[in-house]
């Protein structure tokens, strides 16, 4: 296996993007930041991969328009996933592993506010017996939250603790669109929304984009003194049906955790769009009490569709570049109620990358 590191990261998050859903005008400055961080031009990028969905954009071939932001003369080596940035990064990591390229820039974007996000996501469900009912994302998460409350696996106080810590940490993150911690008591005094969820238990609809730069071996060392080396990358999927799995558990997250080495992890950025989902993930990953969870404020305070998972990777990488931590794990999710889970372990040394 080749040593591959995250060497660049840029992000944008906002409640409502005043621009087209192709997001070209948001991507151009984002890519410029990546060039500035690496000292590269677009000609130094061996492979490109983007993540987006036409269902979010409300138009066809939105990812093709987005390619304008790269500039494609001479032609570029380019791919696309209809998944979060984290999966685009996975494809790029594999591409580098093949030896065909040494560098990659991946980006993802979405203007979730253009439609009704929680409804649009009904299109990722089973099309015969689920989608025709239009079970929205918030409802599916609410069914999961209550299953855990009824089973005594977590309670509303534990959910409010997650929300309060996230809102407090978000105050230090310029990109978080919801911030301001108070107290667990104050949060619990707020009204129910989708009982058993209060609004602060649900991530806000967020527009945004993000980009990650990967490089192998010496190309990474040329860019940064301490590249964030990828020592583990794993992705598993649970069945989609809400009735055929124990909603209080996440077997796919547990399997992903077993496939990587989480020992010594100091920070974990978990892509939990609903407060109780962080509790599920912490349990499945077996994280020790002293592991810092979501210092960015996490997806609960800002969750741009198609980039929020990859942003977790960028947030951990940034803390490794600055030597704040020497090892961390980033998580990304997709599908209803934590159906799909990806883990990416990052470290300041190449130990474990083979």
């Amino acid at each position: 296996m080749r040593d591959v590191a995250v060497v660049g990261f840029a992000q944008r998050q906002m409640p409502e993007f005043d621009g087209s859903p192709t997001c070209v005008e948001m991507l151009v400055p984002l890519l410029a930041e990546c060039y500035e961080q690496t000292g590269w031009t677009r000609r130094d990028i061996g492979f490109w991969c983007s993540g987006s969905s036409d269902y979010l954009a409300g138009r066809s071939f939105s990812f093709v328009s987005a390619v304008d932001a790269i500039g494609v003369i001479p032609p570029v080596n380019e791919s696309h996933v209809e998944m979060d940035l984290a999966w685009a990064m996975y494809e790029a990591w594999l591409k580098i592993q093949t030896g065909e390229v040494d560098t990659a820039l991946v980006y993802a974007f979405g203007k979730a506010s253009a439609g009704v996000l929680r409804r649009t996501l009904g299109l990722q469900l089973e099309p015969y017996t689920m989608t025709p009912l239009w079970p929205d994302t918030v409802s599916l998460a609410g069914l999961q939250a209550r299953a855990g409350i009824d089973a005594g696996v977590w309670d509303e106080t534990a959910m409010a603790e997650v929300a309060n810590r996230s809102l407090t940490d978000a105050e230090k993150n310029d990109w978080s669109i919801r911030k301001g911690g108070s107290s667990v008591e104050e949060l619990l005094a707020r009204p129910m929304y989708a009982d058993p969820l209060r609004k602060h238990d649900c991530s806000p609809v967020t527009d945004g984009a993000a980009a990650i730069v990967l490089a192998a071996g010496d190309r990474a060392r040329d860019v940064r003194e301490t590249p964030a080396w990828i020592s583990g990358l794993a992705h598993y999927i649970d069945p989609m049906g809400m009735g055929t799995r124990d909603l209080t558990r996440s077997p796919s997250a547990e399997r992903a955790a077993a496939a990587v080495d989480l020992s010594g992890v100091e920070v974990a950025e978990l892509h939990a769009p609903f407060s109780h989902q962080e509790l599920v993930l912490r349990r499945e990953l077996g994280l020790a009490d002293d592991v810092r969870i979501n210092p960015s404020g996490g997806a609960l305070t800002s969750n741009p569709m198609f980039s929020a998972g990859g942003i977790r990777i960028g947030e951990v990488a940034s803390r490794i570049w600055s030597s704040e931590v020497s090892k961390g794990v980033a998580h990304a999710t997709s599908g209803p109620a934590l159906q799909q889970n990806l883990l990416c372990v990052l470290g300041s040394t190449t130990e474990g990358t083979n």
Partner: protein, 316 residues
């Protein structure tokens, strides 16, 4: 003035899907007035039945009638229903383990307040009067009072397909550069953007130059006269066609632009249209102008001599 122009857009498509023997069996049951689960190799009864056994991966072949009564295992309040959900006023989604099943089944529960729902409560399936063999033929209701009489049927032809209409509403915004283009059209002007790196002028404008990725900073008004670079004569009718065939669709390279726009050519016999022909924009009456390329009704020949091939050979 906002930075961008936007307009509501609805994207809709009716997905026609074949069901196969397992989902078809389940939906046939709903049409006939019974709920059918599938038995797995581990002895579980799952509703809707799984197409394949999760352990042996063999197709599900054993079906069991379940319900209509059942027990709520989880529920959520839906305070603000979204379009096409089973109810257009607040309701609950519930996971219900139907009598005879071992796994819960997701559907809507007809209650008017969260106070009327609790985990463990008894509910039953309520069948719609008119049923087509779709998941929307039923909802759950609290097990209170006598159930409404359900007409059970013994239909012969199984359900083999469903049509799932999908309709998504958006507020679609044009980019700032496209917005300038549409604002220009509303004033009878054609506005493009110039790439500061390669000097190419894009009409309609792009936010970044697709050749080199540079943001296109400079707004440029281009001529209303141009050259046909290529064209086709449309003889075939198609869904959504606005003009009766035959007609000519052509790429018109406006003077001062580097990208051709697609438009209609009139005022000339289709057989006369040719590459290099000089044409000019014919606008609709000003009273009809809006933020649209359709303000230009069509292009027609100027009568000038054809453009030299070299003037457009790089724009084909």
């Amino acid at each position: 003035m906002t930075r961008t122009l936007s307009a509501p857009v609805t994207v809709a498509f009716d997905y026609t899907r074949s069901t196969g023997p397992v989902v078809g069996r389940f939906l046939t049951g709903l049409r006939d007035g019974v709920v059918v689960g599938g038995r797995t190799s581990a002895g579980e009864v799952v509703v809707p039945p799984l197409e394949f056994d999760p352990v042996t991966h063999e197709p599900t072949t054993e079906f069991v009638e379940v319900g209509p009564g059942g027990t709520v295992t989880s529920w959520v309040w839906v305070p603000e229903p979204v379009k096409d959900q089973p109810f257009d006023r607040p309701f609950a989604f519930a996971l219900v383990t139907l009598d005879g099943a071992t796994r819960p089944f997701l559907h809507a529960l007809d209650v008017s307040s969260p106070d009327e729902v609790s985990t463990g409560m008894r509910v039953r399936v309520r069948f719609a009067e008119e049923r087509v063999g779709a998941i929307t033929d039923i909802v759950f209701e609290p097990e209170i009072g006598e159930p409404a009489a359900t007409t059970t049927l013994q239909t012969v032809d199984p359900v083999t397909g469903v049509i799932v209409p999908v309709s998504l509403d958006y507020l679609y915004a044009a980019s700032p550069e496209e917005s300038a283009f549409y604002r220009g059209l509303n004033e009878g002007r054609i506005v493009g953007q110039r790439c500061p790196t390669c000097q190419k002028v894009y009409v309609p404008p792009r936010s970044a130059c697709p050749s080199d990725g540079t943001p296109t900073a400079e707004e440029v008004e281009v001529s209303q006269t141009g050259t046909i670079t290529t064209f086709c004569i449309v003889n075939v009718p198609f869904l959504g066609q606005k003009i009766t065939p035959p007609y000519v669709s052509a790429y018109v390279l406006l003077d001062g632009a580097d990208i051709a726009v697609l438009h209609l050519i009139l005022g000339v016999d289709a057989a006369e249209v040719r590459m290099g022909m000089r044409v000019k924009a014919v606008w609709k009456p000003e009273a009809e102008w809006t933020y649209s390329l359709e303000n230009i009704d069509h292009f027609e020949p100027t009568g000038d001599p054809d453009a030299d091939y070299d003037t457009y050979r790089h724009h084909l």
